[in-house]
Symmetry: C2
Subunit: 608 residues, 2 copies
C-alpha cells in the first residue's frame, strides 16, 4: 500500500493494517497528537482519501458531521486498507515551539571540573627507563602535589603526545580522571553542554568551560511525544516490548542532534565535548538512562535512583568524546526531578534567609517553598492544560497560538508570529479566563453565564459570542473567517473546567506547602516564576484566576528557564554541582496523592 502525505509530498509504503499516525511517525511526518494515539485528544485530524477502517466511536465524538463529510479522520484511529492520500491540515501540524532560553547564568565563580594540566616531561634515559605513565605521575606530583588517573584513551594518546612537542604535554582532567593527553598546550577550547530535558522540549546549551561563554543554544521538541505527550502515557509505553528502548533512543537522538547543531554553530566537533550536565523530570531522567520508569507511575511512586549519577558518554552512545562525563543532577522524588533541583539551585532559594516560593510550570507543575532552613517541594500534574492538552482550542506556544487576550466590551487577541489563530496557548488561556471573569462572562463558580445575563449587563458584543446551553455552553473566541483554515475557535464550558482543575491543583499545592511549613501568605517574601509561567503567563491574570494567591509582602521575579540555568551553573562550577548534590539531603518532598487536606484545598481552590 502506498500512502502520500500532503502538503509535504512524503510517500510511504505500508503493509498490514497500520494507523495513519503510525505510518506518519515512521516516515517522520509530524502530526499533532497529545494523547499519544488514544483517540481522546482529537488533535490528529487529517483529511484522508482512500480505503480505511470504519469510523470509530472516538472519531464520531471528536469530529462534526460536516468534518466527517469532508473526509476528516483521526490519524490515530483510522487504519490503512489500501493506497491513500492524506492531507495534514495546518492545525494538525507540529511546528517549532517557542523555547525558553532566557534565564541568564547567575553570577557564579567559575570552578571548572574539566581542566588542563600542563606538564613538561623529562626524557627517559637508559639509566632511568621511566615509563611514560610514571613520568606523568612524577610531573603531576611535582606540579599538583598528587597523582593522576589516566583513562585508557588518555594512555593511548600519551606516548605520541609527549614525544611530539619536546615533552610539553597537556592532560585534560574531568573530575578525577585524565581523559585526554594532548601535545603542547592542548585543544583550543574545552567544551561542555548543559541539557534541560523536558517532557515536551529539549534544550541544550554549549558552553566554553574555561570562560563560561555560551557558544550556542539549540532546542527540539522531545521526539518521545510521538509515544505520548505526557509522562504517564510514556511510562505506559515504556512497559511495552521494546518500549523503553524506543523512548531512550528517541531522546538520545534529539540530544545527539542538539549536540551536532550547537557544535556546528560554534565551529566545534562533537568529539570536543568533554562534559555534560542533564536536568529533567524524574521520568525523563530514567528514560535517558534506559531505566524502567514503571514504578514511578504506581503507588508508592518510587524512582530507581535519586542521587546524582555520573556515567560516561560512551555508556549512553552519545557521539561526544567517549570518556566525557555525563552528570545527571539528583532527583528529589518520583515526581520532583532534577529540573526542580536546577530551579532551586539557580534561584538560590536554598541559601536565602527569607521565605521564598518557586513555581515552575512546564508539562508538569512543580513548586518549592522554603529557605535555607527548610525547603519543601511538591508536584501536580497540572501542566498539560497550560500546554494545550485537554483544552479543545488548546495548543502549544507556537506560531498562530493566541498568547494574549483582553476582554472589555468585546474580545481582543494577539497571536505568536502574528499568524492567523490556530489555537490558544497557556498564557492566552489564563488571560482569556481572567478576562471572562472580570467581564462577567464567567461566574465565580466557573459557569459560563447565559447570553441573556450578559445582554442584561449591557455587554451585547459578548452576549452574541455565547452559544449553547448548560454543559455545552461555549464562548466564540475567533470568528471562522478570522481563524487559520477558516476554522473559528471557541472556549467551552469543559475547557474552563479543565483550567479550573489545573489551577486548583497548583493553588492547592502552594497552600499545602505553606501549611506544612507553618507559614502564611504574608510570610512569603519572594516568588520566582520559572518556565512558561515566568516568561509568558501574565502574573496579573494568574492572580486574577487564583492560580496563585496574592502574596502581599512578596516581590515577583520571573527567572526564565531556571532549570536550564541550574544545569549550566553545575556545568561551569564544581561548587555549584556539589550544591546540587547536597540539595538531595536538604529538600523535602510532600506527596500530595492520598492526602485528605489536599483534596479539601483542591476543591476550594477550583473556584475563582
Amino acid at each position: 500500500m502506498r500512502i502520500r502525505f500532503q502538503p509535504y509530498g512524503v510517500r510511504a509504503e505500508a503493509d498490514g493494517q497500520p494507523t495513519i499516525l503510525e505510518v506518519a511517525q515512521r516516515v517522520g511526518v509530524e502530526i499533532e497528537s497529545v494523547c499519544g494515539g488514544g483517540g481522546t485528544c482529537g488533535k490528529c485530524r487529517v483529511i484522508a482519501r482512500g480505503p480505511l477502517t470504519p469510523l470509530t466511536a472516538a472519531e464520531e465524538e471528536a469530529l462534526s458531521p460536516k468534518e466527517i463529510a469532508l473526509g476528516y479522520r483521526l490519524a490515530c484511529q483510522a487504519a490503512v486498507l489500501g493506497d491513500l492520500d492524506v492531507v495534514v491540515p495546518e492545525e494538525s501540524r507540529r511546528s517549532r515551539v517557542s523555547i525558553l532560553s532566557a534565564g541568564a547564568i547567575e553570577e557564579i565563580e567559575l570552578d571548572p571540573w574539566v581542566r588542563r594540566i600542563p606538564l613538561r616531561l623529562a626524557a627517559a634515559t637508559l639509566a632511568d627507563q621511566l615509563p611514560d605513565l610514571e613520568n606523568v605521575q612524577r610531573a603531576a606530583e611535582a606540579a599538583l602535589g598528587r597523582r593522576v588517573h589516566l583513562t585508557l584513551s588518555a594512555l593511548q594518546q600519551l606516548p605520541s603526545a609527549m614525544r611530539r612537542d619536546g615533552g610539553q604535554v597537556t592532560l585534560i582532567e574531568v573530575d578525577d580522571e585524565v581523559v585526554m593527553a594532548h601535545p603542547g598546550a592542548g585543544p583550543a577550547r574545552l567544551l561542555g553542554i548543559a541539557f534541560d530535558i523536558g517532557t515536551t522540549t529539549i534544550v541544550g546549551y554549549l558552553l566554553d568551560l574555561e570562560t563560561g561563554e555560551q557558544l550556542a543554544v539549540s532546542s527540539q521538541l522531545n521526539p518521545q511525544t510521538r509515544y505520548g505527550d505526557d509522562v504517564v502515557s510514556r511510562i505506559a509505553y515504556a512497559g511495552e516490548p521494546r518500549g523503553l528502548r524506543d523512548l531512550q533512543q528517541a531522546v538520545l537522538g534529539a540530544v545527539t542532534e542538539i549536540i551536532a547543531a550547537t557544535c556546528a554553530e560554534a565551529a566545534a566537533a562533537p568529539h570536543d565535548v568533554l562534559a555534560v550536565v542533564v536536568v529533567g523530570n524524574t521520568t525523563m531522567h530514567h528514560l535517558l538512562l534506559g531505566i524502567d520508569p514503571t514504578a514511578l507511575a504506581q503507588a508508592p511512586y518510587v524512582p530507581a535512583a535519586t542521587s546524582a549519577l555520573r556515567v560516561r558518554a560512551c555508556e549512553l552512545g552519545l557521539g561526544i568524546y567517549p570518556d566525557a562525563a555525563v552528570w545527571m543532577l539528583p532527583n528529589i522524588a518520583g515526581w520532583v526531578g532534577a529540573d526542580t533541583v536546577g530551579v532551586i539551585l539557580s534561584s538560590r532559594l536554598y541559601q536565602q534567609d527569607e521565605l521564598g516560593l518557586a513555581i515552575d510550570i512546564g508539562t508538569n507543575g512543580e513548586m518549592a517553598l522554603g529557605s535555607r532552613k527548610r525547603l519543601l517541594t511538591c508536584s501536580t500534574a497540572a501542566g498539560p492544560a497550560f500546554e494545550g492538552a485537554q483544552i479543545s482550542c488548546g495548543m502549544r506556544a507556537a506560531d498562530g497560538a493566541i498568547d494574549r487576550v483582553e476582554i472589555d466590551h468585546d474580545v481582543r487577541w494577539h497571536t505568536i508570529g502574528e499568524a492567523p489563530p490556530r489555537g490558544v496557548c497557556g498564557s492566552g488561556l489564563v488571560d482569556l479566563v481572567a478576562g471572562m471573569l472580570s467581564a462577567g462572562v464567567l461566574h465565580p463558580s466557573g459557569r459560563i453565564e447565559p447570553a441573556e445575563k450578559l445582554m442584561a449587563a449591557g455587554r451585547p458584543e459578548l452576549a452574541k459570542r455565547i452559544v449553547g446551553e448548560g454543559r455545552s455552553r461555549q464562548m466564540l473566541l475567533v470568528e471562522p473567517n478570522d481563524g487559520a483554515g477558516g476554522r473559528g475557535l471557541t472556549i467551552t464550558q469543559r475547557d474552563v473546567r479543565e483550567l479550573q482543575l489545573a489551577k486548583g491543583a497548583i493553588r492547592a499545592g502552594i497552600e499545602i506547602l505553606l501549611k506544612e511549613l507553618g507559614a502564611s501568605h504574608e510570610d512569603v517574601r519572594v516568588v520566582y516564576l520559572a518556565g512558561a509561567f515566568g516568561n509568558y503567563i501574565s502574573p496579573q491574570s494568574a492572580l486574577a484566576i487564583g492560580l496563585m494567591p496574592a502574596f502581599p509582602n512578596a516581590r515577583i521575579e520571573p527567572i526564565g528557564n531556571a532549570a536550564g540555568t541550574g544545569a549550566r551553573m553545575a556545568l561551569l562550577s564544581r561548587v555549584e554541582r556539589d550544591n546540587a548534590e547536597r540539595l538531595l539531603a536538604h529538600v523535602e518532598y510532600a506527596e500530595l496523592s492520598g492526602r485528605p487536606d489536599f483534596q479539601e484545598q483542591f476543591a476550594e481552590a477550583m473556584l475563582f
Copy 2:
C-alpha cells in the same frame, strides 16, 4: 586475477600486484612466515604456476636451483601478475602448535574479587518512598557495613530484579563496582578468564571464580604473527598506517575466539564472563590495549605504562559482559612484561628466603633471580632460535617436529605426533647440539668437525653425515627418504652459530644477574624452568650446551606455563592480584643492552 590455493581448494581474487603471501593471509590460508615477509627466513616456500614477478635475490639465496626448476617461490617475494595456481607444501603449512597448559594452580586461598551480595529489600511505601538505589544502600550498609557503587548497567537491571522475587536480589560486585543486579540468588556461576598472550601463542583459561575450578582451556596461534613473528617486527608494523589497529584487532579477534571456545565448552555464554586477567610481554600488553609500542624498540626502550591497569571489557570491545573488569598485570620494564610477573607470582620466588632463579623461554627469554629480599630480572631476545626462527631446519613444536635427539654411534630422533620429520623444534635442537658435542661432532668452539676427524675417532656413521666445508659444513640429520615431502633435514654450521648466540645470551643474562646480586652458582638453591624450557627442553641437554650453568646446590623444578598460572592465581584471588601489583616495586630490571660486562659474558658464554 584468480588465485587458487592447494591443497585447501581456497580461491581468491586480487588486483594490483599483491604478493602470494598477502593474498593468502587475506583469505586465511596460513603459510609459515617467520620473518614477517622480509624474505630472510625462507620459510614461505610455495609451488606456483602462473604469471609472477621475476625471482628476487632473496629467493635465489633461499631456493636451490632444483627447487627453482620445480616452480618453488617464496610467497612473500613473488607478486601476482595474473591467474595463479599455488600449492602450499606440507613444510610451509602452519599447523596447530602444542601448547603448554600444564602448570597446575598453586595452592592458593580463594579470595574472589568478583562476588555475590545477596540482599533482601523491603518494599517502599507512600510514607517512605525509598528510591530503589537508596533501598539497596540501606540493605548493603546493614549487610556489609558499607555502601556500594552501581554501574549504569546494574542500575538499569535493578528495578525489575528487585520486584521479580519478592525483594530478594543478588548484586554482583567486581572490585568496588556492582556491575549486575539479578533477581533471587543470581546467576548459576561467576566466570572469569585468565589470558597468557604470548608473541606466538595465546592461551585462555576459563575458571569458575567461586570454586576455582578450571572449566575449559583453549589456545591459538597469535594471529599477529602474520605481521611478523617476533616482537621487533610487530613494533615496526605498528608504526605503519593502521598498523597498530591491525595488530590490536588481530589479538582481540583471537581473544574473542578463545572466549567463545572456552565458554562453549563450559556451556556458558561469553556475556557471563565478568573478569579477565591478562599477562603477556610488554609489547603484547601495549598492542592489546591499542597503545603505540614504538618507544619500546628504540633506546631507552620505554614502555607507556608498567603499573597494573584495569579497563572495562567494553572499552576493548570484548564481547563479554560490558562492565566486566579486564586487569592487565604490571610490566616490569619494556622487555620484561607481565608474563614474567606471572612466573614470579606463581613460583613464589619473591616470598622465599632462599635464592632462586626462574627462566622462562618463550619467543623471548626472560629470567628472574633473587629472593624476598631482592629480585632482579632481565631479558634477552634469545627465544626465537628455540622456536625455529633463524634456524634453517627450525620449526615450532608442531606435528612433525623433531623434539628429541640422541647421538651415540649414529643419530636417532623422535617427532611430535610420530609424523614424518618436517623440521626441528627447540627441544630437539638443544638435544641435537648437546649430542653433537658429546659425540665429538662439534668442537667446543662450535665448529662442526670435518668428516675425516670423525672417521679417525671411529665414528663412521656420523662421518658419513658430514658434508661441505668451512662455513658451509653441515650434518645430515634426516635422509631425504625419511623426511616429510621427501625433503631431508640438515643442521648447518650457521644453525649452530645461531644457537650459540641464543644460548650465550641466556647464559650471559644469568651470569649478569648473579653478578648484580653478588651471588655465585653455589648460592642458588632452586631453579624454576618455565614455559617451553620447563616442559620440553631436556635440562641435561641444556646443561650440556651451557645454556645454564650447573648449580651444584640447586634443585630443578619444571613449572610449566607459569605465566598463565600467575594469571589464574590473580584471577581467583585479590591477595594474589595485589601481590602481583606490589611486585612492580619489588622487582628490579637490569638493562643488558650497552653494558660492556654483558658483552664480555656473552662472548664467553657462546663457547660450549
